[in-house]
């Protein structure tokens, strides 16, 4: 038998993740081929080396350094000017009691994400996609915070997911572009709604990322049917060069985290935190 196992197959085998359909073929081959068995053992030795490498220890006195660095951030000094203006806009839309009820995260106000939430609310819903259902007016009246955070968070997540896939697509897979076009079109529409509001609220950082995102999304949405692997490579290098994924992820993960926190928590207990 000279159809040796590929390294990919050996890797999957070592993780116990060979597809069911391939399992007996891989097992049988390993049982009968000394060469592949040797390759498997070499791989296992490397894996063991990784597993048994002692963890890197923190420097001496690290705990004290951590606390010294951390403690100042546990205090929330005053309310920053950005925070104040965002709060004001927010109050106009939702009313002061809603904010003081504590359901909009402090970081959201400070970071200008309140503008995004408001944008989503004013817009009612994003064009197309499955966002329409959860953003229905009735639901929004009951729990506007969670629904809206979720809508904006979904947009950021979906955009991020697409960029990750593009960034990781094999270079010879230019048809990836064709497959993503409809999705990119939806994301452009949603992106514009949020961008408009971010411009109005003067949040430069959010405007920057949304504008960069729009350019990339448009490129995907408008890619010609005969897009080449060069087109894909260009797009990939732009995603990397502009650090789009990271910048997007920072906003999206904060949004998600806060959503989870709010869902898991009773809001009254949050108010007792030393930070607030």
């Amino acid at each position: 038998m000279n159809n040796h196992l590929s390294e990919d197959e050996l890797i999957l085998h070592s993780y116990g993740e060979v597809d069911r359909a391939d399992r007996s073929r891989v097992d049988e081959h390993l049982a009968s081929c000394a060469e592949c068995l040797l390759a498997k053992e070499k791989l296992a030795r490397v894996m063991t080396m990784i597993d048994t490498a002692p963890p890197v220890e923190a420097p001496l006195g690290f705990e004290r350094t951590v606390w010294a660095r951390l403690e100042p951030y546990l205090e929330v000094p005053g309310v920053s000017p950005v925070h104040r203006s965002a709060s004001k806009v927010y109050d106009l839309v939702f009313g002061k009691t809603a904010r003081e009820g504590g359901w909009l995260p402090q970081w959201a106000l400070a970071g200008g994400v309140a503008a995004l939430v408001i944008a989503a609310f004013v817009a009612g819903r994003f064009s197309g996609g499955d966002l329409a259902a959860p953003s229905s007016a009735a639901v929004a009246h009951v729990e506007p915070d969670r629904v809206l955070q979720s809508a904006v968070g979904d947009h950021l997540d979906r955009t991020q997911m697409m960029l990750v896939e593009l960034a990781n697509a094999e270079v010879d897979g230019a048809d990836v572009l064709a497959g993503e076009q409809a999705r990119a079109g939806d994301l452009v529409a949603a992106n514009r709604v949020i961008l408009r509001s971010a411009i109005q609220s003067g949040d430069g950082q959010v405007v920057d990322i949304l504008e960069d995102l729009e350019r990339v999304l448009l490129e995907v949405a408008n890619a010609p049917a005969n897009a080449t692997s060069n087109d894909l490579t260009d797009l990939q290098s732009r995603i990397t060069r502009e650090d789009l994924l990271f910048r997007l992820r920072v906003i999206a993960s904060e949004m998600r985290q806060r959503q989870i926190d709010d869902r898991e928590a009773g809001d009254p207990t949050r108010r007792k935190m030393p930070t607030s």
Binding site: E57, L60, V66, A167, F246
Partner: protein, 192 residues
Amino acid sequence: MKGMDERDPSVVAKARDGDRDAFKALVELHSRYIYSLAHRMTGNAQDAEDVVQEAWLKAHKQLSRFEARADVRTWLHRITVNCSIDLIRARRHREDAHDPADLEQGPLSERGAEAQPTPERVAASVEISDRVNEALGLLTALERAAFTLRHVEGMSIEEVGAKLGMKTSATKHSIFRAVKKMRVALEPYAQS
């Protein structure tokens, strides 16, 4: 490591009630663990320190929602993994610039000072640790994230994909590339 958690329940309860000293005690008790975990995920001291800082800030914010009967270490572990994933992406440019030649040049200078080998640790294991960390340094951010979650955290490839927002096939290829790089870098040092 687990044994230390037995001291936690009352400390956690106090920290939840806003007791600053209790929170400080948690920081002092768990920071070294978080650092090692973050270092394993990010591969360098500066990033690991940043993750520790970020993880504690997150933990502090979430403390009021922490279930008293849950395991603190497990909770901190999860927060740290998430913070590491965020930060790994932040360091992406630098890591993409890494060249395999780095391995020939010996340990990166920034890594030399941090190891703090304990006297009882044998030289060989320090060397293995360095080699593994150098090899990890050859991976791109996504390769490293995917590899660490699969290999070290023991998530299935599908779970890793969900965590990183990638399709299963893309995740698989990231892991393949990572393991191949690790194998090429480490095979000369791996003894039977």
